[in-house]
């Protein structure tokens, strides 16, 4: 792979390596995945930093995201315009935050943003209900949803304002044993074989 590729300059690759948790090879693979999504839109040559954005509808077709109930929110969170259109920088950022080596603190921050549907810096009861509905695809009854949200707020809300601020959320996540493992997306270099 080394010096033959013409997608990025060496400085660009170094910058990527410093700013994300990926190696050179992985960044180039990411670029080919990005290109796969919209080959007519994304140029092969990124040396002059073209300003191309792939729309939300194409990004959520990726196998890593396709089955995730929060895929729309994830892509929106990492997009600069908030509508879910990702430039390559955003794309790499997204997978870097979700990868195995990214630290818990970083994942916590992004998780908070993802679950905050109305973007008011709090996870209020409404956000919780929306999260739960997406998670269970509407299979719980109304009462059960309300009950679960009440219980969750009861468990995590420390300052008693009936919504989760970031410090509440952070404290709760630090005690959630599955968080680190479950919020890791096993990104594969090549397109996954579908079983």
């Amino acid at each position: 792979m080394g010096n033959k590729q013409t997608t990025f300059t060496d400085e660009q690759l170094e910058a990527f390596q410093d700013c994300t948790f990926f190696t050179r090879k992985e960044i180039l693979r990411l670029h080919s995945r990005y290109r796969e999504l919209a080959p007519h839109l994304v140029p092969l040559d990124y040396t002059n930093n073209p300003d191309i954005r792939v729309p939300l509808a194409l990004i959520v077709t990726m196998p890593e995201l396709k089955e995730n109930p929060f895929r729309d929110r994830i892509v929106e969170t990492f997009s600069e315009d908030g509508q879910g259109n990702l430039s390559f920088n955003d794309f790499v950022d997204m997978f870097s935050a979700l990868c195995e080596t990214s630290p818990r603190e970083l994942k916590t921050i992004y998780a908070f943003k993802i679950y905050d549907f109305n973007r008011d810096n709090f996870i209020c009861k409404d956000d919780l209900q929306q999260t739960l509905t997406l998670l269970t695809k509407g299979e719980l009854t109304e009462d059960e949803v309300l009950l679960v949200c009440d219980k969750a707020l009861e468990e995590a809300d420390l300052d008693g304002d009936s919504k989760l601020s970031f410090s509440d959320f952070q404290n709760m996540i630090s005690k959630a044993p599955d968080f680190l493992r479950s919020s890791t997306s096993c990104y594969h270099g090549n397109s996954l074989a579908h079983n």
């Binding site: 299979e139 719980l140 420390l158 410090s167 479950s182």
Partner: protein, 747 residues
């Protein structure tokens, strides 16, 4: 309450907010991405603290203390750029800024920074290379994607056992077998154990004479007797005492004993190290304020799932978990509402059922005992009835153990329904009973063997053991362990081929009632884990008597991996009772530790107590196997001797014990103090939150009353795009939103 009056939504029901809140440091720390970086001043934390910690307030301090911070950042460690929650463009800008700063540093610091970066990159590459070398990486990834993290932990546990067994075998091989093998080539002179021609050292050869029928070879292979008995496979073959090389004398007996201690110790350390992570998490979980609902909502979805089927199953399992939790809450309520009379009734039922369980266990243990004795006696009498019947007699203990371990879990899961515990406790209790059953059955087998070995016609035994029947009792024990291992493997293969595959075919093609009732196979993680822990316990016990057993177990687990994987992918659907991955790791390693503890017991007893056989093995010249150690110590130079005696003296042991106790008390006191501090801080946090709301309320009131239009609303420099966290899309009200008042403040 008065505070609630301030909080209400505006007419459209959307959440509006006070622009003043924007400037609160805690809000600033969570700013969304901005296209134009209004945040010109650096926003990285200049302290050593990680992001999101209580130093989040320092974020905005940097806007005011820029020159000061510049100095500070040169002195303190900077957080790696990639761990900042900022968009790529900003990170790049940070990086160039840092590089510029770095130019201003002294050469020494520059070199240090660049070497740090280089080393970090090197370490990342090395880690990636190492993890790509891991066995079965691709397979496990596939399983994880299809079935989630619960089953993944089973397979990575299996992989751990394969590696562990391989290492144990390498230890035994390199210290015990290798010297014997290379002795002829390295001009070593082997001294064998002398036969003192006493009655105890008679070892009749068990090799078959004359014409050997083919199926007798198979019997030998499966039972470890016949031609296999006098091979490297068993303890009895190692009759070497010392090997004299040109410069050094290699004491094989000592090496044999020490390698046994070494592999037990190594297993202990490795398992404890692996379980340390899970243990910490389990401690946290047992706190009274553990959050099960939050954990499921926010950390419940496995981001690794890429398969549509797996996603559907994960969703249904999450649903099931949530419903179970709600059910648990309901049951807790019910338990709290129990009357006295009901409690008495429940306790009585539980007592009766526990007695019944103990009775069942006693019956199983007794049957194992009887089967072992019968099998041993049948092997002693040289009357061969029939090929198949002989084999059955040989394998009788294994068969009985397997049957018992098959029936009792079913029985336990039926009984527990009547004992009326909460669902979570039910699962754990049943599991504990099954673990106890599995591991104690091995103990019973060994006990019955021991009773046979030390049972002579005239008490007390002349040689310390029954030399007539068991001229080389260690080999016999080794053979029993070998048979257990082989039978275990055969059982697993047979069950997979003859039960799981037909079940899938029936369920798939036949539409009868049986198929519907039976249902598709579920991969029951606890039972499978118990199976392999059972096998590993046998391996640990058996390695002393059968040094090549770890190699056999490595191969056995290697094949089991592939068999289980194929069976999983083709026959199974994920369990409806999801097994939480994090605690399951701890559970697996906990059970493995129990198995290790159980395995140490027979080995210790036989090394230290039971007279080793005088007809075979490396310890012929000693009374017990342990004696080789004091004998060797007495031959060491006197300095080392005094040191070792001091280490094993009572004075040292007592003082060591006292120091350990003190350390433990200190740590417990520290933990208690921390807990108190945490509770205080929690209360303080709640109070601060209330203070903040009160102040904001007052502020809003003041703003409302003030006739001048708040200048703050004009000076908003934010671009009208999404990420300015609040407002520009919303009307600039001064009301704060809040959820309906009934769910608000606790006292």
């Amino acid at each position: 309450m008065e505070t609630d009056a301030v909080f209400f939504t505006d007419h459209s029901g959307r959440i509006t907010s006070n622009p003043l809140l924007d400037q609160l440091p805690s809000y600033q720390s969570l700013l969304y991405r901005r296209k134009s970086s209004v945040s010109g001043p650096k926003r990285r934390s200049s302290s050593r603290g990680r992001l999101g910690s209580s130093s989040s307030g320092k974020w905005n301090m940097s806007t005011f203390t820029r020159p000061f911070e510049k100095q500070k950042s040169q002195v303190t460690e900077q957080q790696p750029i990639r761990e900042l929650a900022k968009p790529m463009a900003e990170k790049r800008r940070d990086k160039t800024q840092r590089l510029e700063e770095a130019q201003e540093l002294t050469n020494w610091r520059q070199w240090r920074q660049s070497s740090h970066r280089y080393l970090r990159r090197l370490r990342d590459d090395a880690q990636e290379w190492l993890s790509s070398m891991k066995l079965w990486r691709g397979d496990i990834h596939l399983i994880e994607g299809m079935f989630g993290t619960g089953i993944l932990s089973y397979f990575s546990f299996l992989r751990f056992l394969v590696v562990l067994n391989l290492i144990i075998f390498l230890i035994k091989f390199s210290f015990v077998m290798l010297p014997i093998i290379i002795a002829p080539y390295a001009s070593g002179n082997i001294t064998y154990n002398l036969n003192d021609a006493g009655v105890c050292s008679v070892y009749p050869s068990s090799a078959r004479r004359g014409l050997v029928i083919f199926h007798e070879h198979i019997t030998d292979l499966l039972s470890g007797g016949g031609f296999l008995e006098q091979t490297y496979l068993f303890y009895g073959y190692y009759k070497v005492d010392k090997i004299h090389f040109t410069n050094v004398t290699y004491n094989l007996a000592l090496a044999y004993l020490l390698s046994t201690i070494a592999y037990l110790f190594l297993s202990l350390i490795w398992i404890v190290k692996r379980s340390a992570r899970g243990f910490k998490r389990n401690l946290v979980q047992d706190e009274d304020r553990f959050q099960s609902f939050c954990n499921k909502i926010f950390a419940g979805w496995d981001f690794c799932i890429t398969n549509e089927n797996a996603a559907r199953l994960k969703r249904s399992s999450l649903l099931y978990e949530l419903k179970t939790d709600l059910e648990e809450e309901r049951i807790k309520q019910k338990i709290a509402d129990r009357t006295r009379k009901e409690k008495c009734r429940i306790y009585l039922i539980r007592l009766i059922l526990n007695l019944f369980v103990i009775g069942v266990l006693a019956a199983c243990f007794y049957s194992i005992y009887v089967a072992t004795i019968f099998s041993q006696e049948a092997q002693m009498t040289k009357i061969k009835v029939n090929f198949i019947v002989d084999l059955i007699y040989e394998y009788l203990p294994s068969i009985v153990i397997t049957l018992a371990n098959f029936i009792t879990p079913l029985l336990f899961s039926v009984i527990i329904n009547y004992e009326d515990y909460s669902p979570a406790f039910e699962i754990r209790f049943t599991l504990m009973r099954c673990v106890f059953m599995r591991l104690t059955s091995i103990g019973v087998l060994l006990f019955s063997l021991w009773s046979q070995i030390t049972n002579c016609e005239e008490e007390p035994c002349i040689c310390g053991y029954n030399h007539l029947l068991y001229s080389c009792w260690e080999t016999r024990v080794g053979q029993e362990m070998y048979k257990l291992t082989i039978f275990d493997f055969i059982t697993i293969v047979a069950v997979t081929i003859f039960v799981e595959f037909p079940r899938k075919l029936i369920v798939k093609h036949c539409d009868c009632g049986l198929a519907k009732w039976w249902g598709q196979q579920e991969f029951a993680i606890p039972q499978n884990v118990l199976e392999i822990v059972y096998g590993q316990t046998i391996c640990w016990i058996g390695t002393f008597y059968c040094p090549m057993l770890p190699a056999i177990c490595t191969i056995k687990y290697f094949f089991i991996f592939y068999i289980k994987k194929v069976s999983l992918i083709n026959n199974c659907r994920p369990a409806t009772r999801p097994f939480r991955a994090s605690s399951s790791n701890f559970f697996f390693l906990g059970v493995l530790l129990i198995g290790l503890a159980l395995a140490c017991l027979p080995v210790t007893v036989s090394v230290a107590q039971i007279n080793c056989s005088h007809a075979c093995g490396p310890f012929v010249n000693f009374n017990t196997s342990w004696e080789v150690l004091p004998t060797t110590v007495s031959q060491l130079p006197s300095g080392a001797q005094t040191l070792l005696f001091a280490l094993s003296s009572e004075a040292f042991a007592v003082s060591f014990f006292v120091v350990t106790c003190l350390a433990m008390f200190y740590v417990i006191a520290l933990a208690g103090a921390h807990k108190r501090v945490i509770n205080q801080l929690r209360d303080q946090l709640a109070m601060e939150g209330r203070d903040k709301r009160f102040l904001i309320q007052k502020l809003c009131q003041a703003q409302r009353l003030s006739p001048v239009r708040s200048p703050v609303s004009k000076s908003k420099p934010r671009s009208p795009s999404y990420h300015t966290s609040f407002s520009s899309n919303f009307s600039e009200g001064v009301f704060l939103a809040h959820s309906p008042p009934d769910s608000s403040t606790h006292v």
